[in-house]
């Protein structure tokens, strides 16, 4: 079964190369032509020496000159064609593979994306594809040429003299054994060197970011020792790998030279008996050196292809995952899209969510039952880890429930087209992630149908108009991660992004944590007045949700209460506790007076310096 799976996935890598299939044939053909021309040169030299020099035929030598130079130039031209084909098709293949891989990553279910982590995925799109791309280029350029030169030299040598070829046949296994041994010993050592260097980088990074803590605990001496130890290990590893890898060249050269001496000695005997000429001996020696050079190239290729195989495996891991996120064909709208007000806009029926499979791992959300009707404002409260974010992740379809069912407007969430769902249910999430680009691009979020007026209105609703204008309007630049905006500003932009297309259900996941009360209540008022009917407000604090129609209290992944603020104060201990700890100030509610100007706005982040 796994074989079946991997074959299917491998197709993705092969499929990326498919467009360039013919080049993978044409390239090597030209390279072979070059190799043949190259192999001809020493043989022609034999004729020059044997017929020209020994036979004292100067005219012959002159006649050979244009022929040989012509062969060299023709070889060069074939090589150029091959190199061009190789760069064209390997880069094309890599580009295609990157596109496919990135698409698949975007379509991965959130569950798998979380598990893999961003940096692992980034490495695959960049490093691993680069290695595969390089391997493709080398496949065209060298993988055929080098073995061909090896075998070709052997054949040419055999044509010159069969008996002397036996010497090469003896030397060849020795050479291969030497190369293989050096590689076998040094490749894992190189891996160790890299690992040590990574450790050095890790220690350096930790010492940079932890400078305060290290000093606070007076641990500098220990850190120096930790670094010194690692640095010493690295030194040892480098010296060790050198000891092995430095052997490659002298060893192969030595074996080759011994073979040359043997050729001269036994060749002498053949010349004595008239079976061999001086020119042939020279050519013979030449072919041996061709072979050794080509063999070293083959060794490097083996190394590269081993690496490429590992990369292919890592890339395939991604392709092998099921693409969960992709859009499904929308079920035909059979009338229930325009549900009556009496029907719930969304429902959770015994919904559960478990992030990992282990039996002893408790579910993040268990058996949640809830029906919310159009026009309702629902509050969700609970402490960290109580399942608030898990619950809203089910509503946006980010995660599929592991038990029970989620219905949006009466239809199972699995039957919704992804795009349609995100137009119906929108979330302004906790992280308030912004992408580099302009404010408008961020709010448009890839929807080309969003007009400039809609963007402005969204900014107005989110109370973001003022600071966006200060930054230079909706075309103002947003730096990576929204770094040029404060935490409170990012929250407001993220709300603007969520409201821009007026979803039927708007979820605000802790969207006020960096806003002062006045701004938060103005924003809520604007949202309610904008035509967005159903609102879900998630918060750690009771104050933000106390005016909701109903409040859901979550505790340890379970529903621990549902009702109005007043009801819950009576019936839910946890709710009462959260209210108490939130402090009296919050009891005055969101409408509470605005504080001094300096306290308003962005309290997030603290001071860096």
């Amino acid at each position: 079964m796994t074989k079946q799976k991997s074959r299917k996935a491998e197709n993705q890598i092969l499929a990326s190369a498919k467009k360039y299939r013919k080049w993978f044939v044409i390239g090597p053909v030209f390279k072979l032509t070059e190799a043949i021309f190259e192999l001809l040169i020493p043989t022609l030299m034999v004729y020059i020496i044997d017929r020209g020099v020994t036979g004292r035929d100067g005219a012959y030598v002159l006649r050979m000159m244009p022929l040989m130079i012509g062969i060299a130039v023709l070889g060069y031209l074939s090589a150029l064609v091959c190199q061009y084909v190789a760069s064209l098709s390997s880069q094309g293949f890599g580009t295609e593979l990157r596109n496919r891989l990135f698409r698949r990553m975007l379509d991965l279910p959130q569950k798998d994306a979380d598990r893999l982590g961003a940096s692992a995925m980034v490495n695959r799109v960049t490093n691993d594809v680069n290695i595969l791309q390089q391997a493709a280029a080398m496949l065209i350029r060298l993988a055929i040429r080098a073995p061909f030169i090896c075998i070709g030299s052997l054949i040419m040598a055999a044509m010159l003299n069969l008996k002397l070829t036996l010497i090469i046949l003896c030397a060849l296994p020795l050479l291969i054994a030497a190369v293989a041994l050096v590689m076998k010993l040094s490749v894992p050592l190189f891996g160790k060197v890299q690992k040590r260097l990574d450790n050095i980088a890790v220690i350096s990074r930790e010492n940079m970011s932890g400078a305060r803590v290290i000093r606070a605990f007076s641990r500098s001496e220990n850190e120096k020792k930790r670094f010194g130890d690692e640095s010493k290990e690295y030194y040892k590893a480098v010296v060790r790998v050198n000891r092995i890898s430095a052997m490659l060249n002298p060893l192969t050269t030595l074996i080759m030279n011994v073979a040359v001496i043997a050729v001269l000695w036994f060749g002498g005997k053949m010349i004595d008996s008239g079976d061999m000429t001086g020119g042939r001996i020279i050519a013979f020696v030449n072919y041996i050196s061709y072979m050794v050079t080509a063999l070293l190239v083959v060794a490097n290729l083996v190394n590269l292809f081993t690496k490429a195989a590992a990369s292919a495996k890592r890339v395939n891991e991604i392709f092998e995952l099921p693409a969960g996120g992709g859009s499904r064909p929308a079920a035909s709208p059979d009338g229930d899209n325009t549900a009556q007000d009496a029907a719930p806009v969304f429902e959770l029926v015994n919904a559960s969510l478990k992030y990992s499979g282990g039996d002893d791992v408790p579910a993040a959300l268990e058996g949640a039952n809830l029906a919310v009707f159009p026009g309702e404002v629902l509050g969700i409260v609970g402490i960290t880890g109580s399942g608030k974010t898990s619950l809203v992740s089910l509503l946006t379809g980010l995660y599929a429930c592991t038990g029970g069912e989620v219905r949006i407007k009466g239809r199972n969430i699995h039957d919704w087209d992804k795009k349609e769902l995100s137009r119906t249910v929108r979330i302004a999430s906790q992280q308030s992630t912004l992408f580099s680009g302009s404010v408008a691009e961020n709010i448009r979020a890839g929807d080309p149908s969003v007009t400039e007026d809609e963007i402005r209105e969204a900014l107005r609703i989110a109370q973001a108009e003022e600071f966006v204008d200060e930054k230079g309007g909706i075309e103002a630049r947003v730096e990576r991660g929204g770094a040029n905006f404060s935490g409170g500003q990012r929250q407001r932009l993220s709300v603007a992004r969520a409201v821009v297309k007026k979803p039927e259900v708007l979820i605000l996941d802790d969207s006020f944590s960096a806003l002062d009360n006045a701004t938060a209540s103005a924003m809520l008022g604007a949202i309610r007045g904008s035509g967005i009917k159903t609102l879900v407000i998630v918060s750690q604090r009771a104050g933000s949700v106390r005016y909701a129609d109903r409040i859901l209290v979550l505790d340890d992944g379970k529903c621990a209460g549902l009702g109005s603020h007043a009801e819950l104060l009576e019936t839910s201990e946890i709710y009462a506790e959260i209210c108490r700890l939130s402090g009296e100030a919050e009891d005055e509610g969101q409408a509470g007076g605005a504080g001094p100007a300096y306290a308003a706005g962005n309290a997030e982040g603290g001071e860096a310096l």
Binding site: V61, L106, V122, L254, I427, S429, G446, L581, E607
Partner: protein
């Protein structure tokens, strides 16, 4: 620059000198080889049959040369590599030590990635530059010059021809390298751009899914990818030109040597007073191939050496940074009671912008002092000065009655336990992270500290409990969990003064309540400073300081401040 580099190499000069000697010797042997090869061929092709004596003698000599050449060419890079690795390791350790002795300003202002690159990649560049390129350059030059001389001795005409043709390959290589260097740089840049884009989008994948931005992001990716394809194709092709081009030049010079040699031999032109024989042609052919090889290598080696020098400069920059003054001669701080007094403190990060102009306060032993105020008011700066992460421009700080300037920094810092808002965890087990402040702590003590910090229950649920390895600065934990581990770390330390700088900012309100109980036990009889945004958490403090613009604008207990209806009252009412 070079002199400072040499200083590091001095310790290893014996190895380097021997290595260079070996390089020259093996280069020389490489030169003599073809000469005897030619003689052997001559012995084979002698007019009156094979001259066995001469052949045997030459072959024996050849094998001696080959074997000793192999040994020397193995030992030479081995020795220089070892010396270079040693020197670079020294340099790396010095750099790291210097960094640890630098004032905190360095860490706060330098991009961390840049410094890390210096310790890793720049040191590698220097290693490559001196360890390998140096010897390569050495033996390369010996080979080129030697071959040229040898060829001139044998046949000036042929040598001149080779001298005319071979530099062509150098020129071609140079030309292509310069032309493609630009393309490679462009490719590198685009690759970086693509990587950054991928990183940004994939770290925000949740947002991409939530807003169904997949198609739009795929489009943007494909755009950059298409640009990368364009530069990548040209760069790769440019780079792929070098080998065939130099091979063409080498082939042509090989052919020329062969043809000229053959013509000279046929027409009986003498070279150096001798008739050109088949053996001489063999020698010349052998030299011609040998001559070209190092020339191409030298081109690459010079850029490597340039890189090494540039990297050395970057390392020296760090070594030139001014360290904190040595305080090993000072007394250690002995704390009898945990009082802290600050008098007329003056400080600024940048001279033009004074931050703290005149700050005084006194914390009685065992009291709880809370510091509140808006962002940028200077709350964390007070911590920086208390711990002597930064030095004040004026005024004094006394701990337990002792001026902190008169004692060692380490002993002062030992008097404090500290929890910062940015949670720092290092690669190691949960246990090691908690026991960071006192490595000798028993498992029992670690567990107790974790329990007091409300971290025990989630640590127990980690895959390996307390032995779970934390990587990536604890990337596998939530912000709140990371904070609880750093709190446990501070709880384990038995220090007279406790500093909590936004220590529970990522922890939810209920958990915070429990943590505070833990702190309550910990703070008994200890002086503590608490910086907090959530005012609800500091109401019981003995003294609340409202800080703004680097100075204390209001102070008193909660009830006093509320009664005054001033700044603190305003903060309370603004809520959050």
């Amino acid at each position: 620059m070079i002199r400072r580099l040499l200083k590091y190499l001095k310790k290893y000069r014996a190895a380097l000198i021997v290595s260079s000697l070996f390089a020259i010797l093996s280069g020389g042997l490489l030169l003599i080889g073809p000469l005897f090869l030619g003689k052997a061929v001559d012995a084979l092709t002698a007019e009156n049959g094979v001259e066995w004596d001469a052949l045997g003698k030459n072959l024996v000599l050849l094998s001696v040369f080959y074997v000793s050449g192999a040994v020397l060419s193995y030992l030479s890079p081995l020795l220089s590599g070892k010396a270079a690795a040693g020197a670079v390791t020294d340099m790396r350790n010095d750099t790291f030590r210097r960094i640890l002795s630098l004032p905190l300003r360095f860490f706060d202002t330098r991009p961390h990635g840049d410094v890390i690159t210096r310790i890793t990649a720049d040191c590698e560049n220097i290693y490559d530059g001196i360890g390998q390129s140096f010897v390569q350059l050495f033996s390369g030059v010996v080979t080129v010059v030697g071959t040229m001389i040898a060829m001139f001795v044998i046949s000036p005409a042929i040598a001149a021809a080779v001298l005319c043709i071979t530099p062509l390959s150098l020129i071609i290589a140079r030309f292509v390298v310069i032309r493609t260097a630009r393309l490679f740089a462009a490719q590198q840049k685009k690759t970086g751009e693509l990587g950054a884009h991928v990183e940004e989008i994939l770290s925000g994948i949740r947002t991409v899914h939530e807003n169904s931005m997949e198609d739009c992001e795929q489009g943007r990716f494909e755009e950059i990818n298409a640009e990368l394809y364009k530069v990548g194709r040209s760069a790769q092709f440019g780079g792929a030109l070098i080998n065939p081009s130099t091979r063409l030049v080498n082939n042509i010079s090989y052919i020329c040597v062969g043809l000229m040699g053959a013509l000279f031999a046929v027409s009986g032109i003498t070279a150096g007073g001798k008739i050109i024989t088949v053996g001489v042609i063999a020698t010349l052919l052998s030299y011609a191939t040998q001559f070209a090889k190092p020339i191409n290598e030298i081109a690459g080696v010079t850029t490597q050496i340039q890189n090494a020098l540039a990297s050395a400069e970057r390392i020296m920059n760090i070594l030139d940074e001014q360290p904190e003054p040595d305080d090993s001669g000072l007394d250690r701080l002995t704390v009898s009671e945990g009082s802290v007094e600050i008098e007329h403190l003056k400080f600024s990060y940048v001279p033009e912008k004074p931050l703290i102009t005149d700050l005084s306060l006194r914390a009685e032993p065992g009291s709880v002092v809370a510091i509140v105020g808006p962002t940028g008011a200077g709350k964390t700066t007070i911590v920086n000065l208390l711990m002597r992460f930064y030095e004040p421009l004026g005024g004094t700080i006394r701990v337990s009655g002792t001026d902190t300037q008169t004692v060692t920094r380490d002993s002062l810092r030992d008097a404090f336990s500290m929890v910062l808002q940015d949670t720092w965890l290092f690669t190691g087990s949960v246990r090691d992270n908690i026991a960071y402040g006192c490595p000798g702590a028993s498992d029992e003590q670690v567990r107790e500290a974790a329990k007091a910090a409300c971290a025990h229950s989630f640590i127990r649920r980690l895959p390996d409990g307390y032995d779970t390895l934390l990587t990536d600065g604890g990337g596998n934990l939530s912000g709140g969990q990371r904070q609880l581990i750093t709190i446990a770390r501070a709880m384990l330390c038995d220090s007279p003064v406790l500093i909590l700088d936004e220590a529970t900012s990522s922890v939810d309100i209920v958990t915070e309540q429990y943590v505070r109980q833990g702190f309550g036990n910990l703070m008994k009889g200890r002086t503590s400073f608490i910086i907090a945004h959530r005012l609800a958490t500091i109401r019981n403090a003995d003294l609340i300081l409202v800080v703004d613009g680097g100075n204390i604008v209001e102070q008193g207990t909660y009830s006093e401040l509320m009664a005054r209806r001033g700044r603190y009252w305003g903060l309370e009412n603004a809520g959050r």
